[in-house]
C-alpha cells in the first residue's frame, strides 16, 4: 500500500514539473480560490437586463475590471427579480467569452459545406448590398428579400432589424409569433387585450391555479410570491400533463389529458353554477353574453362528460371548482404550453370565462393571468424608416402598398409559395428557424432553394449552417438598450458594460454599415441613418408617456435602477375593458366574424391518428432558452445530453428499457434520443425538452407538422403553431 502510494505520487510529481512550463493559474483571469473582489477600486459595475424571451427579464449587475466582464449578479433594486438570476443568467460570462462565438463576418462556400472563410465587414457589406441591388434590378422591388426576426433579443433597439428592412424598401416579412398567439387572441376577444395582474400581487391570492405553467423552469422569480401566499394558507394547484418541478411542489397536482383544459374548466363552471357560487353581479355588470354562456353550460356540460374527457375524477373537479369559486381572491396563471393546440385559444377563452364567472377578474390576488404589453410603449424609433423614393411594394387586400407579410408559423411553405416576385434572399436576426420552426426538413429544403442567406448571430447554430454570410452579433453586455417584460411591470436600462468583442456589432450598427455601403453603390437606396452612437439610439426610444409611466424625467435615471410602471396591481381593476363593447365579451362577435365560436364553448381536441398514437410534447427546457445557452460548456457539463421521458408502461409495450436509444418518428421525420423512464409523464405522452446541444443534431421539430393553433390572427397577424399536437410512434432505436 505504502509502495503503491509512493509510486503514484512520483507520477503526480512528474506531471507537476511539466506544468511549470504552463502555469494555468497564471493564465486565468481569476484564480479559482479567490473571488473577484467587487470592492476593488478598478472594478466597475454596470446595469444590464437579460433580453431573452422569458417572463422574468431580470435586472442584472455586471462586474467589469480592465474591460473584462468578471461576473454577473442580480440587481437588488429590481423588485421582481430581487437581486437573483436563474442558472442561465449566471452562465452569461461563458456566453460572452465562449470560444465558439462568431467573431468576424464570415462567408460559407458553398452554403451548407462548413467551409467558412473570414471576410472583412467591408466585403460582407459589399456582397450583401450588391445582392440586394441585383435583386431589386431583376424584380423591380426589394420584395424578394425576406426578413425573419423574432425573439432572440427583445431589447427595444433591436427592432432596428425591422428598420433595416424598411430602409431598403418594401420587403417580405415573416409575420406572427410562434409562442403564445392563441392565448393572446383569446384574451383579446375576451378583454380587449392581454393584461395580467402584477405577478408580485400573487402574494394576495388565497388560492392559486397554475394552469400548464412550469414556473420553476420558466419564471422562477415568481415562485417566492406564490410561496408568500402559501405561507398565509393559500393552496397551490398545478394542472399539467407532466409532473413538472413546479407540479412536484403543489398541494394538488392534476394530470389532465393534454388539450382538454377547457373541458376541465367547463366542468368546474357547471358545478359552480349548480351550487350558485356564481358572482352574478360582477358577471352581469361587466360582461356581455354572461347568461348565454351559463345557459350553454347548463344545457351542454355535465360533470361526467368533463371527467371522461379530461381524465380527472368527478370529485376532484368538484373539489377544485368549490375551492376556486369560494376561496377568494383566487389567481389563475395560464401558461403558454396549454395554448399550443388546435383548440388552445378556445381553452384559454373558457378559462377566462371561468375567472369572470367567479368574479376573480379585476381583483388583487385574482386574475386570469397570461401576459401583458402595457410597459412596451416605446418609440420604436430604430424600426421606423421610410422606404426609399420610388420603392415598389406589395398591394395588400386593403389596396395599400407595403411589405408582403407571410406566415412566420408556416415559414418554409410560405416562402416557397411566393411567386410574384419569388423570395430569393433571407435575412435572419434574433431567430433560428433551423432549430425552432416546425417541419425541419421543409425548412432545410426551403433554405437550400434560396439564392442568398444572411444570418446575424453569435453562434454557429443550425440556421447559420444554412447561410451564405454570417455577421457576428454583440451580446447585450456590449450594447445600449432598454428592456420591458411581458409578465412583471419593471423596465430597466441595459448599459454597454464592455466594448463589443472581436468584430461583433449590434443590429443597429450593422444597419448603419449597410446603409453607408448601399448609398455608396446606389445613392438613395437606403434610408437608414448613418450616424448616432449606440446610447443616442437608445435615447430616441423614450417618450413622455413611458417616462411618466416609470415616474422619471429622463431615461438616464434608469442607470440608478430599474423602475416599476405606475399601474394598479390588478389588471382590469378599473373595469375599462378594451373590447368593442367596452365589456368582457363572453359572447364575442369579433370571434364569430373570424370564424370561431362566439362563446367559450367546448371545441374538440386533436385526436391521435391510428398509425401515430403517442403524443410528443416538447416544452421549454431548464438549461436553455430555446436554442440559446445549452451549447455553453457550463450547461453541457451539468446537462450533457438530451433525453426523452417515457412512462414505464409505454416503454414496456415497446420493449424499451432505461437509457436505451429510442427512435421517435412519424410520416414527416424522426429523431433518435436516449430515454429516461419516468412516471412524471403519462402512458400516452412522451416528453423531450427543445434545445440546441453543442455538436448535436438533436432537434425536436423534425416530426412536427406546421399545424396552426386556432387563434392568433386577430392580434398577431397569424395563428400560432400547435406544437403539442405532435403525434408519433416510438421504437427501440
Amino acid at each position: 500500500m505504502k509502495l503503491s502510494r509512493r509510486k503514484f505520487l512520483g507520477g503526480a510529481a512528474a506531471a507537476v514539473s511539466s506544468l511549470t512550463l504552463f502555469n494555468f493559474n497564471l493564465l486565468t483571469n481569476s484564480p479559482p480560490a479567490s473571488a473577484s473582489d467587487p470592492t476593488s477600486e478598478t472594478m466597475k459595475t454596470f446595469r444590464n437586463v437579460c433580453p431573452r424571451n422569458c417572463y422574468d427579464t431580470c435586472g442584472m449587475i455586471t462586474y467589469v475590471q480592465d474591460g473584462i466582464l468578471k461576473k454577473v449578479e442580480g440587481d437588488p433594486k429590481h423588485g421582481y427579480t430581487n437581486g437573483k438570476l436563474c442558472l442561465k443568467g449566471y452562465a452569461y460570462p461563458r456566453r460572452v467569452y465562449s470560444p465558439d462565438r462568431i467573431k468576424y463576418p464570415m462567408k460559407q462556400s458553398p452554403r451548407g459545406s462548413g467551409n467558412w472563410t473570414r471576410i472583412s465587414w467591408d466585403e460582407a457589406m459589399d456582397t450583401i448590398s450588391k445582392k440586394i441591388l441585383d435583386l431589386k434590378k431583376r424584380y423591380g422591388s426589394t420584395l424578394p428579400i425576406c426578413l425573419d426576426k423574432y425573439s432572440g433579443n427583445f431589447g427595444i433597439v433591436h427592432y432596428g432589424i425591422e428598420g433595416t428592412m424598411s430602409s431598403l424598401g418594401y420587403t417580405t416579412r415573416a409575420l406572427g409569433t410562434p409562442c403564445w398567439p392563441a392565448g393572446i387572441d383569446a384574451q383579446t376577444y375576451d378583454f380587449g387585450t392581454l393584461y395580467n395582474n402584477d405577478p408580485e400581487d400573487m402574494v394576495n391570492a388565497n388560492y392559486i391555479i397554475l394552469w400548464g405553467q412550469n414556473a420553476a423552469w420558466t419564471a422562477i422569480h415568481s415562485i417566492p410570491f406564490i410561496n408568500k401566499a402559501r405561507e398565509r394558507g393559500a393552496k397551490l394547484v398545478v394542472i399539467d400533463p407532466i409532473v413538472t418541478s413546479t407540479a412536484s411542489k403543489a398541494d394538488l397536482y392534476i394530470q389532465v389529458n393534454p388539450s382538454t383544459d377547457g373541458a376541465l374548466a367547463l366542468g368546474m363552471a357547471r358545478y359552480i353554477i349548480d351550487n350558485n357560487w356564481v358572482d352574478w353581479e360582477y358577471g352581469r355588470a361587466n360582461s356581455v353574453g354572461f347568461d348565454e354562456w351559463v345557459d350553454y353550460i347548463k344545457k351542454s356540460i355535465t360533470l361526467d362528460w368533463a371527467s371522461e374527457k379530461t381524465g380527472v375524477p368527478k370529485d376532484i373537479i368538484m373539489e377544485i371548482a368549490r375551492e376556486y369559486a369560494t376561496t377568494k381572491p383566487a389567481s389563475m396563471w395560464v401558461g403558454y404550453g396549454m395554448q399550443r393546440h388546435v383548440n388552445g385559444g378556445q381553452n384559454v377563452r373558457i378559462i377566462d370565462a371561468l375567472g369572470v364567472l367567479t368574479g376573480n377578474v379585476g381583483k388583487s390576488g385574482g386574475g386570469v393571468n397570461y401576459g401583458h404589453l402595457e410597459t412596451w410603449g416605446f418609440n420604436y424609433n430604430a424600426m421606423i424608416n421610410p422606404a426609399p423614393k420610388g420603392s415598389k411594394g406589395f398591394i395588400g387586400p386593403d389596396g395599400k402598398e407595403g411589405d408582403r407579410n407571410i406566415n412566420m408559423n408556416n415559414f418554409a411553405h410560405d416562402v416557397t409559395a411566393q411567386s410574384d416576385p419569388p423570395v430569393k434572399m433571407l435575412w435572419l436576426a434574433c431567430r433560428n428557424p433551423g432549430a425552432q420552426d416546425p417541419d425541419t426538413h421543409a425548412i432545410e429544403k426551403m433554405f437550400a432553394s434560396m439564392e442568398f442567406v444572411v444570418t446575424v448571430d453569435s453562434f454557429f447554430n443550425k440556421t447559420v449552417e444554412m447561410s451564405d454570410i454570417v455577421l457576428p452579433a454583440t451580446t447585450h453586455f456590449e450594447d445600449w438598450d432598454v428592456m420591458a417584460s411581458y409578465w412583471h411591470y419593471w423596465v430597466g436600462i441595459n448599459q454597454r458594460a464592455i466594448e463589443p468583442l472581436y468584430e461583433s456589432k449590434s443590429d443597429v450598427e450593422i444597419a448603419i454599415e449597410l446603409s453607408k455601403k448601399m448609398n455608396k453603390l446606389e445613392p438613395g437606396s437606403c434610408t437608414f441613418p448613418t450616424s448616432g452612437t449606440p446610447e443616442e439610439w437608445l435615447a430616441k426610444e423614450f417618450n413622455p408617456g413611458i417616462l411618466k409611466m416609470l415616474g422619471i424625467k429622463d431615461y438616464k435615471e434608469l442607470i440608478d435602477g430599474p423602475r416599476k410602471a405606475n399601474m394598479p396591481s390588478a389588471a382590469w381593476s378599473d373595469g375599462k375593458f378594451r373590447t368593442p363593447s367596452k365589456k368582457i365579451e363572453i359572447h364575442c362577435e369579433l370571434a364569430a366574424k373570424n370564424g370561431l365560436p362566439a362563446l367559450p364553448i367546448w371545441v374538440e381536441e386533436m385526436k391521435s391518428p391510428v398509425k401515430y398514437p403517442i403524443r410528443f410534447i416538447t416544452p421549454h427546457p431548464q438549461h436553455a432558452l430555446h436554442s440559446q445557452f445549452q451549447n455553453l460548456d457550463w450547461m453541457m457539463t451539468t446537462n450533457p445530453e438530451p433525453k426523452v421521458e417515457i412512462h414505464p408502461v409505454l416503454a414496456a409495450q415497446y420493449g424499451i428499457a432505461e437509457g436505451n436509444m429510442v427512435k421517435i418518428y412519424n410520416d414527416l421525420g424522426s429523431i433518435t434520443v436516449k430515454d429516461h423512464l419516468t412516471r412524471t409523464t403519462s402512458p400516452n405522452v412522451v416528453v423531450s425538452y427543445e434545445s440546441w446541444y453543442k455538436n448535436s443534431n438533436f432537434n425536436v421539430n423534425y416530426t412536427l407538422k406546421a399545424t396552426p393553433s386556432d387563434m392568433g390572427k386577430q392580434a398577431t397577424g397569424n395563428n400560432g403553431v400547435a406544437f403539442h399536437d405532435n403525434f408519433v410512434m416510438i421504437e427501440y432505436g
Partner: protein
C-alpha cells in the same frame, strides 16, 4: 475550533433550479468540468408518487474531513470556523482526496491538472457576505448555518438523506429538511 459553519438544504423549498450551481461557477469563473456545487435529483422510486425533488451539495466542510487526512502535501486546512480550505498552489493533483471523499465533492480539473472545491466563499464570509450559492438561492432553500446541537434538535432537520453515504464517515457539516409531497391526481 470555535464553531462549525455548514449548509442547511431544504428539499421542500428547492425546485432544482440549479441557480446555486451556476452562481458558484459565475463567482469563481470555474472551468467547464469541475462542479464545486451540484444539484442532485432524488430518486423517483424512493417516493410514493412520481416527483421531481432535489438537494444541492458542495463540499460539506466535514468535522472529520477525509480529504484533509489523506492529502500528502497539506493542501487542505480547516479554519477556526470549520471551513475546509483547499489551496490550489499546494495541490499536486494526485486525486487522493477525490477518492477519499464519500461525497465526490473535491473535483479534479483536467485543464489545470489539479483538484478544486468549494471553500465556502470564505473571502465573502470574512467580509460579512453570504456564500454566492446561498445569496443566489431564489427560494431560500439553501442557508449558511452553524452546525450545533440546537440545530440538530429542531424538528425536521435531518443529518442525511436516503442514498447518501453514512454521516459517520466524515461527520459532514450539512443538514437537510426533507421533501414534502402534495396530492396527485394521475392518469396511470
Amino acid at each position: 475550533m470555535s464553531k462549525q459553519l455548514g449548509f442547511l438544504h431544504n428539499s421542500e423549498k428547492c425546485v432544482g433550479c440549479r441557480g446555486c450551481e451556476m452562481a458558484c461557477k459565475n463567482e469563481y469563473q470555474i472551468d467547464a468540468t469541475p462542479q464545486w456545487r451540484k444539484v442532485f435529483q432524488l430518486r423517483e422510486e424512493d417516493f410514493s408518487l412520481p416527483t421531481r425533488m432535489f438537494f444541492s451539495m458542495a463540499c460539506n466542510h466535514c468535522a472529520h474531513p477525509e480529504c484533509l487526512r489523506v492529502c500528502p502535501v497539506e493542501a487542505y486546512t480547516k479554519r477556526d470556523d470549520g471551513i475546509v480550505v483547499h489551496d490550489p498552489n499546494r495541490c499536486i493533483g494526485c486525486r487522493l482526496c477525490t477518492m477519499a471523499c464519500p461525497y465526490d465533492r473535491p473535483q479534479f480539473n483536467p485543464v489545470k491538472k489539479k483538484v478544486e472545491k468549494c471553500n465556502l466563499c470564505y473571502q465573502r464570509i470574512d467580509k460579512g457576505e453570504k456564500p454566492a450559492c446561498v445569496a443566489a438561492c431564489i427560494l431560500g432553500a439553501l442557508e449558511l448555518v452553524e452546525i450545533n446541537d440546537s440545530l440538530d434538535q429542531k424538528t425536521g432537520v435531518l443529518k442525511t438523506l436516503p442514498g447518501l453515504p453514512s454521516p459517520k464517515i466524515t461527520t459532514p457539516s450539512i443538514r437537510f429538511i426533507g421533501p414534502k409531497q402534495g396530492k396527485q391526481i394521475r392518469r396511470d
